[in-house]
């Protein structure tokens, strides 16, 4: 087991190094002058421009710039933002709480809704209830997350006034609408996969045996079928985490939440390289770490995987 984890950890570090090079290069594909965004387009003397370039190491060659950035990252320093004039790690630290709370809340919400919905659809296969739930999931798969967010905002915040329309970080109540908006997409995908795997499991021999032994139906469904259906469900959920991190960017934009997403988007719009690099690298790292944890969880759940 330890060997398995070490191997995966090594692979992850290699991928992260490649990712960091790629991020660094992609931000700079087209040569643009970040000094313009630092000075907000004001006319400044050539001397000041030179000073600014020197201050942010922009006068150095690309390999040198990369080396400076990556050594900083290992020390927990992501560089200084061009526009905020503050350290990127400070800017991230201020905002990461909002984003992580949002993603965790909606992830939890999604699983709590999706698994029962999927199990019910599978057990009541081809009845009106199953068809209704399938139609609903199809609509939510097709609805872009920001549309769901806007509709929730319009109905529950602006018309009914049950929830505030803007997130200010004062109470958990403000987080409810954004969390639901972000969760719906994942609910749809996860419940679909739950339904398919549960139908497969419910048709297998061991279920017939369990039923023939006279076990109560609820026990057969939950402790027999669902337990075996969990692995595909976990796979889909873990892949969804990446989508949710990006979905959070969109939801944050709708509810003006001021999380990592807003920081990233404003960074992209103002060519703020350190901010874009830092936030992207952080998001990819979170995504990869979660995938690693899921891989380990698999190996714990299913000994066959460890042997490979």
């Amino acid at each position: 087991m330890g060997k398995f984890i070490l191997k995966r950890l090594g692979q992850m570090v290699l991928v992260l190094i490649a990712v960091s090079v790629l991020i660094f290069a992609m931000v700079r594909i087209t040569p643009s002058d970040p000094v313009a965004s630092m000075t907000n387009g004001k006319n400044v003397s050539e001397e000041t421009k030179q000073e600014l370039r020197a201050h942010y190491n922009l006068d150095k060659s690309y390999p040198e710039q990369y080396a400076i950035w990556i050594t900083g990252v290992f020390q927990g320093e992501f560089g200084e933002s061009f526009t905020y004039k503050q350290d990127v790690d400070f800017l991230i630290g201020e905002r990461i709480g909002t984003t992580l709370t949002l993603v965790l809340m909606s992830g939890l919400l999604a699983i709590l809704i999706a698994i029962p919905v999927g199990v019910i659809s599978a057990v009541k296969m081809n009845t009106w209830l199953d068809k209704l739930l399938s139609t609903l999931t199809l609509i939510f798969v097709a609805s872009p997350v920001f549309l769901t967010a806007l509709v929730l905002m319009l109905v529950f915040a602006l018309e009914l006034k049950w929830f505030p329309a803007i997130y200010q970080g004062n109470s958990i109540k403000e987080m409810i609408l954004p969390a639901i908006a972000l969760a719906m997409n994942m609910v749809a995908l996860t419940s679909r996969i739950t339904r398919t795997t549960m139908i497969e499991q419910l048709n297998s021999d061991y279920i017939r045996t369990a039923t023939a032994k006279g076990l109560p139906r609820s026990r057969v469904i939950v402790t027999y079928a669902l337990k075996n259906a969990l692995i595909p469900i976990i796979t889909v959920t873990s892949v969804q985490i990446g989508t949710m991190l990006v979905g959070a960017v969109l939801v944050e934009s709708v509810f003006a939440m001021g999380g990592l997403g807003d920081l990233l988007i404003s960074g992209i719009k103002s060519a703020d390289y350190p901010v874009v690099q830092g936030v992207t690298l952080l998001m990819v790292t979170i995504f990869l770490v979660i995938n690693l944890l899921v891989d380990i969880l698999y190996a714990v759940l299913d000994p066959r995987i460890r042997m490979k």
Binding site: A18, M26, V27, R28, V141, A142, L150, E159, V246
Partner: protein, 314 residues
């Protein structure tokens, strides 16, 4: 076996016809008609649209839906219905271009990677691994950050994002086909690798790829809308579904139509594409499993013939 079979071709053909009919089940027919209708409406937008999509009529700012303006007007007095028709052109053409780009790059890479194996395969696959370690839209964000914010770059960025997934799919299909007898036959006939890959392996993989492509168009529409919504894709004043949703959120309470109407069109198109792709998948799955059953039909046919023969004899 085949020559013996051609004698009984009518039965086989009638079976095949049944399969062809099955692609257009009621659900798929509705989905397909909706898609064609929306596509036609967008193509003939200059004829259908009652107004110029960028014509401002400041007396009609945020007008409610009426006979003059079917869906009302936006904050600049532009007709929302006309903008949806023209916006559809931007959204649908962009989505098709994204998928076309990913096909042109991804399919050859997957075929080569799967067929050649070795170092080339390792290099291509490691590159895919790195690209796939980004959540997909995040990669598009950062590409747009480097390339600049406009429709063309959003299409290019998403095209690149879609390549590794298609490469992986094509590669896995190629690996299965590679070990089949007909490939060995081609090799022993001395065909070039290029000919084997494109003339023999690709046609056998294309049906599964096609199903993925129809789904990818749906994803591309959603992803492009997300980019435009964040201001990273199509820029105003050009009409685009995602960009309209962005313009509409400032006036959500005053005229919700501005956001909801393009949103609804996106949902309809994506649902229709999903149903169509699902139908296509089931249809192609069927025709694939139908082929090995030829023996069964032959047996059945022989039995039938024997019966008829017996009847004539008796």
């Amino acid at each position: 076996m085949i020559s013996a079979f051609t004698g009984h071709s009518p039965l086989y053909r009638s079976k095949k016809k049944k399969n062809v009919g099955k692609l257009f089940t009621p659900g798929v027919t509705v989905a397909f008609s909706v898609l064609v209708l929306i596509l036609l409406a967008c193509i003939f937008a200059p004829v259908i649209a009652p107004y110029d999509p960028n014509a401002q009529d400041l007396t009609q700012c945020l007008a409610k839906p009426s006979a003059d303006h079917l869906l009302g007007c936006d904050q600049n007095g532009r007709d929302i219905f006309s903008r949806i028709l023209y916006g559809g052109r931007t959204a649908l053409v962009s989505a098709l271009l994204v998928v076309a780009f990913s096909m042109v790059v991804g399919i050859p890479l997957g075929l080569i990677s799967g067929y050649k194996g070795g170092v080339i395969d390792t290099i291509i696959m490691r590159c895919c691994d790195v690209l796939l370690s980004f959540p997909s839209l995040l990669l598009a964000f950062i590409l747009v950050a480097g390339l600049g914010r406009n429709t063309f770059n959003a299409v290019l960025a998403l095209g690149i994002v879609y390549v590794p997934m298609l490469t992986r799919l094509t590669r896995s299909l190629t690996l299965v086909e590679k070990n089949k007898v007909y490939v060995s036959a081609c090799v022993s006939l001395g065909y070039s690798d290029t000919r084997i890959i494109y003339r023999h392996i690709l046609p056998n993989c294309i049906s599964t790829i096609l199903v993925q492509i129809t789904l990818d168009i749906a994803y591309a529409i959603l992803d492009l809308a997300s980019l435009s919504f964040l201001g990273l894709g199509t820029q105003p004043p050009q009409a685009d579904w995602g960009a309209m949703l962005d313009e509409g959120r400032a006036v959500l309470l005053m005229n919700p139509m501005l956001s909801l109407a393009p949103g609804l069109v996106i949902v309809i198109v994506v649902v229709a594409l999903n149903i169509f792709s699902d139908g296509l998948h089931q249809y192609l799955d069927q025709s694939q499993t139908a082929l090995p059953n030829i023996d069964k039909y032959e047996k059945k046919m022989n039995r039938k013939l024997a019966k008829e023969g017996g009847a004539v004899d008796g």
